[in-house]
């Protein structure tokens, strides 16, 4: 026998659909339908400027870019010829593009792991430091807020073959054999630029992770210590899980930077010597603005976006899930 369901309060409440159908009647709060309509209109009006700006500056350019993929636009011809999938086919067969993509991959791996490891290490070192903490944060964060052009120029001087501080330093400690033209040697140029980028990004990672560490539950850490957990065990099982959402957020931002890298490479080497530091960003720029191949450059830029977006979405979802799990725990 099945018991008849007992009448509940929710069963008697109107569903949202019903509520909308009854919109013309005065509501329980005494708000007239006319007022609600005015409120809705007002809402639309208030949102409209943002929507218009999004349409003009985001949606339209993206759609326009997609159009450029299928034509051969040189920046001059107002009626560019339709080439269908020609740009994509060329891209797939372009050895220089694959070389640039490989450089991006190196950049993504080292340019993400480097700042995360160094930034985390620095943050852990300075976690318990109270005296001079602001000073350390400012010093380490400063490279991140400096203009990339200035950073590139200054590091270009540091790497200079004869007068650069790096080679002078190596000579001073008797390592003359290691001196070289760091940015002119195809074997070292990419890593030299990458080193500069890691130096810049580390401060950002450090400051964010240090802030996250300040929110770690010290009682748990002390309890683990009392239970006999060593430093690495406490780090792995107590500290890192608590800062994981922030760590993932920082990872996502650094990783996406690896896809979109352009300015520091452009300033320091321009993609040279002979394409040894070419990344997809500089290759797209070179095609679009130096060779006037706007369509091919746009195709490259869209490919970078298409590669970066799924990774960003995945990391964002992962971060949310970890955050929810942590709150649930």
């Amino acid at each position: 026998m099945t018991a008849a369901p007992a009448p509940t309060a929710t069963a008697t409440l109107p569903s949202p659909g019903r509520s909308r159908r009854r919109g013309r009647r005065p509501g329980r709060a005494g708000v007239s339908a006319v007022t609600r309509r005015q409120q809705a209109r007002l809402g639309v009006l208030l949102v409209a400027p943002a929507v218009v700006l999004m349409l003009v500056f985001l949606v339209f350019p993206v759609l326009n870019s997609v159009y450029y993929v299928f034509v051969d636009f040189d920046g001059l011809d107002t009626t560019p010829p339709w080439v269908g999938l020609g740009n994509l086919t060329e891209l797939a067969q372009d050895r220089q593009m694959w070389a640039a993509a490989w450089h991006n991959l190196i950049w993504i791996v080292l340019g993400t792991v480097g700042p995360l490891v160094i930034g985390l290490g620095l943050a852990l070192l300075l976690w318990g430091v109270r005296r001079g903490s602001t000073f350390y944060r400012v010093v380490f964060f400063l490279p991140y807020v400096l203009p990339q052009v200035a950073v590139g120029v200054v590091w270009g001087w540091i790497y200079a073959p004869t007068r650069g501080w790096l080679n002078r330093g190596l000579e001073a400690v008797g390592l003359d054999g290691l001196t070289r033209g760091w940015l002119g040697d195809p074997g070292t140029a990419l890593y030299a630029v990458l080193g500069t980028a890691i130096w810049t990004a580390t401060g950002f990672v450090f400051v964010i992770i240090l802030s996250a560490l300040r929110n770690v539950d010290n009682e748990q850490v002390e309890a683990a210590m009392l239970d006999g957990a060593g430093y690495l065990q406490r780090l792995r099982h107590v500290v890192l899980p608590q800062i994981l959402p922030v760590f993932l957020m920082v990872t996502a931002l650094t990783l996406i930077g690896g896809f979109a890298v352009f300015d520091i490479v452009f300033v320091m080497t321009g993609g040279g010597p002979a394409n040894a530091t070419e990344v997809l960003g500089t290759y797209a720029y070179s095609n679009a603005f130096e060779l006037s191949r706007i369509s091919y450059g746009t195709t490259l830029a869209l490919v970078v976006t298409a590669l970066a977006v799924p990774v960003a979405v995945w990391l964002d979802r992962l971060q949310r899930r970890v955050s929810i799990e942590e709150r649930g725990a």
Binding site: L42, L45, A48, A160, G184, G270, G272, S292
Partner: protein
């Protein structure tokens, strides 16, 4: 206070209108007023140069009643936005831009430049024929050629005198000079190719001297291949020079400014670059310099020559007559004399330098160019101003690749030949 929806609606519309409205033309400098020409130029080196130019243009305003508003853009930005600006209603009336097919040629082909063929005849503008050819596309003339540039070898005359060596006339002379300088502890040639474009000057000067003007013209016309032995040999010389340390340490890591600083400081005894460097020498060198063509394999070489940026008129200018009047001013001998004295540049027309305050080195170059242009000899060609960007990119990357050992001269020559056929 209760704000009515109408007031909010009005505010929102005002905000939207404000957000969507750009700065006024006067704010961003775009577009000139009535009887004002907008003259768009590549960024000048310093504020003093701009001040001198504006003072000079004041003379034009005084004689013509036409104001000239000078706007500047750095070279890269200019190349990126110029086409858009020339199409816009707020675009410049007159521009100063590079001649050659990749620069003014592309604009002319797109119908963005004003045809000056008739204006040449009506105003009797006098320029060297070869310079006029560089602004002629499809049989129509689209600009006044800009300053001329020659590319060759500057040498520190004091160091050469101290070491008892003469300026090199042949490639073997140059090798001997480099060896003597190296033994004396002096870097033979200051060179930096981090910016990539200086590499094209190495090839231009070595190749011009090796094959002469006719040979260069055959290359440009496609009658001679870019992977011919002379091109490979020219690249091979620079490979040899780099391998022997004659270009200093890791030249591909050195930028143009550092390269010139190496010469001006006396660290290096020679510098392969162009006549625009005379201005730097006048300001920054405390020693005497000489300037010779790059040596040829079997004898004396020739200067490689090219044209810098020159004035052209936008096709959609509101005031073509005023713009032509401004170009008439730029084509005058007086303007040529002014540019020699104030900008240390070589006008693309014969001028009388008597009584002018001219650097002796520039005076020598002016005489040489004048004699050469009037049939007294040959001039080679600066390649990158005459070839399309795809070729230039292959050449820029190629010279870097030769200097860093990434490619052989033969491979680079083959890549240039392939690029020339695109």
């Amino acid at each position: 206070m209760r704000i009515s929806p109408k007031v909010l609606l009005g505010s929102a519309v005002c905000l939207l209108v404000t957000a969507c409205t750009g700065q006024s033309a006067s704010d961003d400098g775009g577009g000139g007023g009535e009887n004002t020409l907008v003259y768009l130029i590549e960024q000048l080196e310093d504020a003093e140069s701009l001040s001198r130019l504006e003072d000079h243009l004041a003379d034009f305003t005084e004689s013509s009643g036409i104001e000239v508003e000078v706007q500047q853009l750095d070279v890269d930005t200019m190349r990126t936005v110029l086409q858009t600006r020339l199409r816009s209603e707020e675009g410049p009336d007159v521009i100063s831009f590079g001649s050659g097919p990749a620069f003014a040629g592309a604009l002319a082909e797109a119908g963005l430049l004003y045809d000056l063929t008739d204006a040449y005849e009506e105003n009797g503008w006098e320029v060297y024929d070869f310079a006029k050819e560089r602004v002629t596309y499809g049989g129509r003339v689209y600009g006044i050629p800009g300053e001329m540039e020659t590319v060759g070898l500057f040498y520190n005359a004091d160091v050469f005198a101290d070491l008892g060596i003469d300026p090199p006339r042949t490639l073997d002379d140059l090798r001997a000079v480099c060896r003597t300088l190296t033994e004396a502890g002096v870097v033979p040639m200051a060179f930096g190719d981090q910016d990539a474009w200086p590499g094209s000057h190495l090839l231009s000067m070595a190749l011009s001297s090796a094959v002469g003007a006719d040979g260069m013209e055959a290359l440009f016309a496609g009658e001679r291949s870019w992977d011919s032995p002379e091109v490979v040999d020219a690249l091979t010389f620079w490979q040899e020079a780099n391998a022997n340390g004659w270009l200093g340490e890791s030249p591909v890591s050195v930028d143009y400014d550092t390269m010139t600083a190496q010469y001006l400081s006396g660290e290096a005894a020679m510098i392969p670059t162009g006549s625009w460097f005379i201005n730097d020498l006048a300001v920054g060198a405390d020693f005497e310099s000489g300037y010779v063509p790059f040596p040829a394999p079997g004898g004396e070489g020739v200067f490689a020559a090219g044209l810098g940026s020159g004035p052209m008129i936008a096709a959609n200018t509101d005031d073509p007559e005023g713009a032509v009047a401004l170009l008439d001013f730029f084509a005058s001998e007086e303007h040529g004399q002014w540019s020699v004295e104030n900008l240390q540049t070589i006008p693309p027309r014969p001028i009388d330098t008597e009584g002018l305050d001219v650097d002796p080195l520039l005076a020598q170059v002016l005489e040489d160019v004048s004699a050469l242009s009037e049939g007294g000899g040959q001039l080679g060609y600066n390649i990158d101003v005459l070839m399309p960007e795809a070729f230039n990119e292959a050449m820029f990357d190629g010279v870097q690749a030769v200097l860093t050992g990434q490619s052989t001269p033969a491979e680079v020559a083959a890549a240039m030949q392939a690029a020339s056929q695109q």
